[in-house]
Each structure stands twice: as structure tokens, then as C-alpha cells.
């Protein structure tokens, strides 16, 4: 079992605290990516409506903002609030999403792509929001435009004249406004394109949160919109600087840096952080990469279940190369495979009931051959009375507590619970084990995204390979948290206390 590093411990502490409030499928910490895209969608949708009500001339822009915030029907207030706070929530959720993936080291191995493609989304999201604040053309917008110009002027090729466009009342024109409007619409389009690219290596990405979680976000934003209506400040006046200005810190923090550090300093901080973030997959590679899954052609019948279940789209079905009677075969792209073993659990050839001496599946993790699992089971059971032992299958990635050797537990460890073919449970019970305890990541918290879902679906008979219908389901206890040694102990005792009704007779 991997000893958890400080970061993954932090992730677990946060997750566990939130799990106390939200049942597994609704835990927002486990769907931050999806909540981020929902916040983006809320912002875009409210923005489209607001655009219809917005006047893009210099004099009209400020009035447009006021009209919405003073709308007696509160429609404008809500609309402005959803747009503004939706954007703020987007930034916050995106940073939390990044934080969670960072805590879980999800930039290592094949995940470098998802991580790296996320980095430009931060800049795009930030720019989209910043230009939105400019469109209000109040004193905050003017300050922001000037501060941004001062920041840009620190770049070698941008001349110091940029800021001149905003210094005098008459200097500004409607062309500038059209440019800002163009950016404010164009950048989010790039953002959506970037999001598409971000999800390219994720099979069945959870783009939208669970409905209850989504409604929760929408309601929360609605409540903030009404309790703290988003408001314009005084009209932009190049010849007056207010004593203090209210900033949207989610977008305008760099202005404060520019003020206190200089433009070059802000570039150093922002550029440095971006570079650090982008190069993290190469700075911290972690332990050596585990060997990717390998297709064993003679055992592959081309059923494509592995391809359907692989969480990272690492398996493609290709035309048969060995002249076998099946039309297709599985092919693993080593660059995409994180070695989770979920494909092994999906393969019909993984069943331990096969009569071959050395069990080999159609697809295998070279470091954890499935045959070894059957071997262990057989050997242990040779010396044990039926009903005196429980199979405890643990996921290697949900670090557990200390685990003393225990004669009543037959402990096995897999990369992911999704690696355990359901037929193994059937096999274990028929071999005389009193039951099985599955201990892994809690719903929605699977290290490999889909392992928990496929495991439960296969056992419930909703997804192939299905657990045989008449296997006693009450003999299988799924424990979400495997670090909970006491619960595992209880579950094992429970299974041992109540012997099975129909004893497995013939299996041995």
C-alpha cells in the first residue's frame, strides 16, 4: 500500500470533511471539473442575454450597466449577478479543480496532457472576465484598463504610449469598445475550444455535475446575486482618481501586483507561476511509470469491453493481425495507459473458471498478472476450512491503515477495484470463502475515475462482465473507504458470523 504523501493526505482530509455533509454522489470536491464547466455555462448563458440588453458605445455602456442593476423587477439584478458571480465562481472552482488534481499528483504519467492543456484555460478564463469588467466602463474599469496598459508596457515590444489612449476624456473612442467586446466574446470561444482539447484524453468525461450539485451551484449564485447585487461604480473619469476602489479580486489581483511590484515584477510572478505549472509534469515525475497494459492476442476475442471501460481511452479496437477467427483485437496505446487494470476486470478472458493451467487474460498488467490472483486464492484455500475466511480486496490507491496479518482475511491488492473481474468473487465464494469485502475509493473519488462505477455496475448486473445472477450479493460488502480498518474488521466479522445458507459443495 502506498504511503500517502502530504499532498494526498491533504486531499483526503478535505474530501472526508466534505463527505460528512454530502453523500458520495453529490460531494462537490469530487466534481470540481464538472462544476467549473457549469459555472462557465451559467456565465455564458447569462452573458448572451445581457448582450441583447447592452449598448456598446462609450456613453451607452455605463448606462447599460446601471439599467440592469436598477431594474425594479430584479431580473436585471439577477442577470448581472449570475454573469458576474458566475465568472467569479468559475475562477474559484477552476483553481480548486487545479488544486485537487495537484494534491492527487494528476500531472504525472499520461495525465501530463490533461494537466498541461488545463494551464492555458486559466489565462483565457482570466482574460474573458477582465475584459467583461471593462465593458461596464465605470471607475473600476478605467483603473483596470490603465493598470493593464501599464502592465503591458513592461513588455519589451509594447511602447509606453499605450496608456495614452485612456488618459484624456476625449482620447477614447468607440473603436476601443468594439475591440473589448470582440475580446470578451472571442476569448470565451477560445476557452470552450480549449476545454474541448482539455478533455480529449478523458473517456466519458464528467462535463456536467450531478443534477443536485448543479442546482446547488445555481441557487448559491442566485442567492449571492440578490443579497449582494453586482454594481457599477462611478462613471469612468480620467481626471479623477477615487480614494479607494472596489476590485474584483478574482480577476484584478495582477493590478495590485503591478502597483506594488512594477509591471516587470508582475510578469515575472505570473510568467513564473505559469511556467512552473506547465512544467510540473516533467519536474515531478514521481516513481517510475508502471508498465502499461498488454494485450495477449490468443486470449483476446475482440469483444471491445476493455475499450469501453478504459477511463483514459487508451484502447482502440483494430483489425485482427494474427489471422484468428475474430474480426478485431484490442490495441493499447502505451502513451495513454496509466496501468489501472480496469481493462483486466472488463475482459471475459479474465475469468478464473477457465480450465487452462496458467490463467492468462486477453489483456494483462504485466506487473500484476491475473493468474497470480487465482494462484493465491487456490493455495490459501488448500489449507483452510470452508467458511473460515473472507476475501478482502483492497485498492492500492486508497491508502489504508496498518494492516496486521490476520488468519481470517485473505487479503489481495489490486491497482483499482475495477481490476477485479466479478467472476473472481463468484469463484472465491464457490471455493469456500465466507464472503468478500471490497475496500477502495469512495463513490466518485476513484483514482482512475471510473473504477468504482464499473465495479458496482458489474456486480449489480448493469454492465458486462456481469456477476452471475445467483451469486449471493449479501456475501459481498463494498466498503468505500479502505483506510477504515475498523470497518473492514467489522465487515469481515459480520460475514464470518453468519454462515452461508447454501454451502459451496462441489467447487473444490
Amino acid at each position: 500500500m502506498a504511503t500517502p504523501c502530504l499532498r494526498s493526505r491533504a486531499d483526503r482530509v478535505i474530501d472526508a470533511a466534505i463527505a460528512r455533509a454530502f453523500a458520495a454522489p453529490y460531494n462537490p470536491w469530487r466534481q470540481l471539473g464538472a462544476l467549473t464547466s457549469l459555472a462557465l455555462a451559467i456565465t455564458v448563458a447569462s452573458g448572451i442575454v445581457a448582450y441583447a440588453l447592452y449598448d456598446t458605445s462609450i456613453s451607452g455602456a455605463y448606462q447599460s450597466g446601471l439599467r440592469l442593476q436598477n431594474d425594479p423587477s430584479y431580473f436585471g439584478v439577477l442577470l448581472r449577478g449570475l454573469h458576474r458571480y458566475g465568472a467569479d465562481a468559475f475562477m474559484l472552482l477552476m483553481i480548486l479543480h487545479l488544486l485537487r488534481e495537484f494534491l492527487r499528483s494528476h500531472y504525472r504519467g499520461p495525465r501530463w496532457y490533461s494537466w498541461l492543456s488545463g494551464v492555458p484555460l486559466i489565462w483565457l478564463g482570466w482574460l474573458a472576465g477582465l475584459t467583461g469588467l471593462w465593458l461596464l466602463w465605470d471607475s473600476r474599469a478605467l483603473h483596470s484598463v490603465m493598470a493593464t496598459a501599464e502592465w503591458l508596457q513592461a513588455l519589451p515590444l509594447v511602447d509606453e504610449g499605450l496608456v495614452r489612449n485612456f488618459l484624456a476624456s476625449g482620447a477614447l473612442n468607440d473603436r476601443f469598445f468594439s475591440l473589448v467586446m470582440f475580446l470578451h466574446i472571442g476569448v470565451p470561444l477560445f476557452l470552450i475550444g480549449g476545454l474541448w482539447a482539455h478533455l480529449q484524453r478523458i473517456h466519458l468525461p464528467a462535463v456536467w455535475p450531478r443534477r443536485a450539485a448543479g442546482v446547488g451551484l445555481l441557487l448559491t449564485l442566485g442567492v449571492v446575486s440578490l443579497l449582494a447585487p453586482a454594481q457599477s461604480l462611478g462613471m469612468a473619469d480620467p481626471h479623477f482618481v477615487p480614494k479607494a476602489i472596489s476590485l474584483d479580486w478574482f480577476f484584478q489581483l495582477p493590478h495590485v501586483l503591478t502597483d506594488s511590484l512594477s509591471g516587470a515584477g508582475t510578469w515575472a510572478v505570473a510568467g513564473g507561476l505559469t511556467l512552473l505549472c506547465a512544467s510540473l509534469p516533467w519536474l515531478d515525475r514521481g516513481r517510475r511509470k508502471p508498465a502499461p497494459a498488454r494485450v495477449e492476442l490468443i486470449h483476446c476475442n475482440g469483444c471491445s469491453r476493455c475499450a469501453a471501460d478504459c477511463p483514459f481511452g487508451a484502447i482502440r479496437m483494430v483489425p485482427r493481425t494474427d489471422g484468428g477467427m475474430h474480426a478485431q483485437q484490442a490495441a493499447v496505446d502505451d502513451e495513454l495507459c496509466v496501468a489501472c487494470g480496469i481493462c483486466v476486470g472488463a475482459c471475459p478472458s479474465s475469468t478464473p473458471f477457465r480450465r487452462i493451467e496458467d490463467l492468462v487474460s486477453g489483456i494483462e498488467l504485466p506487473e500484476q498478472p491475473i493468474g497470480r490472483l487465482r494462484q493465491t486464492l487456490r493455495e490459501v484455500l488448500k489449507s483452510r476450512a470452508p467458511g473460515s475466511m473472507v476475501l478482502v480486496c483492497r485498492c492500492r490507491h486508497s491508502p489504508g491503515g496498518s494492516q496486521a496479518p490476520d488468519p481470517s482475511m485473505l487479503s489481495i491488492e489490486v491497482e483499482c477495484l475495477g481490476m477485479l473481474p466479478p467472476s473472481f468473487l463468484d469463484f472465491a465464494l464457490r471455493q469456500g470463502l465466507a464472503g468478500a469485502v471490497l475496500a477502495g475509493c469512495e463513490g466518485g473519488n476513484c483514482e482512475f475515475r471510473l473504477g468504482d462505477r464499473w465495479t458496482l455496475d458489474r456486480i449489480a448486473g448493469r454492465r458486462a462482465p456481469r456477476l452471475r445472477r445467483n451469486v449471493a450479493r449479501e456475501r459481498i460488502i463494498s466498503l468505500a473507504r479502505q483506510d477504515d480498518e475498523a470497518s473492514i474488521r467489522n465487515a469481515v466479522d459480520e460475514l464470518l458470523r453468519h454462515p452461508m445458507h447454501d454451502q459451496p459443495g462441489d467447487a473444490r
Binding site: Y85, R164, L167, A228, V241
Partner: protein, 176 residues
């Protein structure tokens, strides 16, 4: 199949914790969307912004090429006058209430040093009446050939813009 896992808290405590999480999220957004306010100046400060962009005179006067020099040039380049494009440095000085505020030498912009010199500075001053004197040289000799002096009264928060536009008569001080 029996399932277990983190047991959520009992009903009232769970709802309270949910409210705490969502409320905390809402409060975080609501607050940092506008607060804390960022101070831009002191109670009694006014602002002086200096900004102009100006192309100085050419650094070297045009001169006639002699016959030998002309011969060395490609036929299509043989013009009588040789006018190096490099411009002079703009010298700028400003005094406020008799004390020097800026003393700048602004090199011409552009890769060939043939573009305008540009400057942007901003500074806080105490609100009230100030005598401001600005002078500028755009000649190769560095001799000041433009100047303006004025007494301005600045209210707290008011921005005085010191600009230089020769077509509009040289220095321009604007306050509104």
C-alpha cells in the same frame, strides 16, 4: 450488496454543514468580488500624470554627398542628399514649486532610432496650489526650445495631465 463508506452526519447536522460549505462558497465569492477596497491614494492626494510621445529633430542635419560617395552607392540609391534617420534625444525637465520633479533624457523609439520618444509617469502630490514648470528640448544640441509654466489648483483626487503636442502649441496641462 451491502455498501458502506463515510457516513454522512445525521440529518440536522448534515444540513447545517451543507449550509456552511455552500454559504462559505457564496460568501467567498460575494466578498472577494468587491472587497477589500484597494486604496488608490491618500486622503489629501492629487495625481500628476506625465505622458507624451514626440518625435525630436533629426540628430544629424542632411548633407550633400560628394561625387566619390555617390559612385559607391547602388545606382538606384544615388540621391544627392544624405539624411541619417536617427533622431535626437528628447530632454525633459519639470519643476514643482521650484523643486525638480523630473529630469529625463528620452531616447528615440524604433529600431533605427527614428521614432518618437515616449514617456509615461504618474506621481502623487498634495492637493492644493502648485507652480509647475516644464521644459523640453528636441534639438540635437539639447538646448531647451519649449517650455510652459503655470499655477494649478488641484482638488483631492484630481488628475493633472502634462502632455506635449507641438501642433497644439507645445505643453498642455489639463485637469478635466
Amino acid at each position: 450488496m451491502p455498501e458502506s463508506g463515510t457516513r454522512p452526519l445525521p440529518f440536522p447536522a448534515r444540513v447545517a454543514l451543507q449550509c456552511l460549505v455552500l454559504g462559505g462558497f457564496a460568501a467567498f465569492i460575494g466578498v472577494f468580488s468587491a472587497k477589500p477596497a484597494y486604496p488608490l491614494r491618500g486622503e489629501n492626494d492629487a495625481i500628476v500624470k506625465l505622458s507624451f510621445t514626440h518625435a525630436a529633430q533629426l540628430q544629424h542635419p542632411c548633407r550633400e554627398r560628394n561625387a566619390e560617395e555617390l559612385k559607391k552607392l547602388a545606382p538606384n540609391m544615388r540621391t544627392q542628399l544624405d539624411c541619417p534617420r536617427q533622431r535626437a534625444v528628447v530632454r525633459f525637465e519639470m519643476e514643482m514649486d521650484g523643486k525638480p520633479a523630473y529630469r529625463l533624457e528620452l531616447p528615440p523609439g524604433g529600431l533605427r532610432k527614428d521614432g518618437p520618444a515616449t514617456v509615461y509617469r504618474r506621481a502623487m502630490v498634495a492637493a492644493g496650489t502648485h507652480r509647475i514648470a516644464a521644459r523640453l528640448s528636441d534639438k540635437p544640441s539639447g538646448e531647451f526650445n519649449h517650455s510652459k509654466e503655470a499655477v494649478v489648483d488641484l482638488k483631492p483626487g484630481q488628475v493633472l495631465l502634462v502632455d506635449f503636442i507641438p501642433a497644439e502649441g507645445g505643453f498642455i496641462f489639463t485637469k478635466e
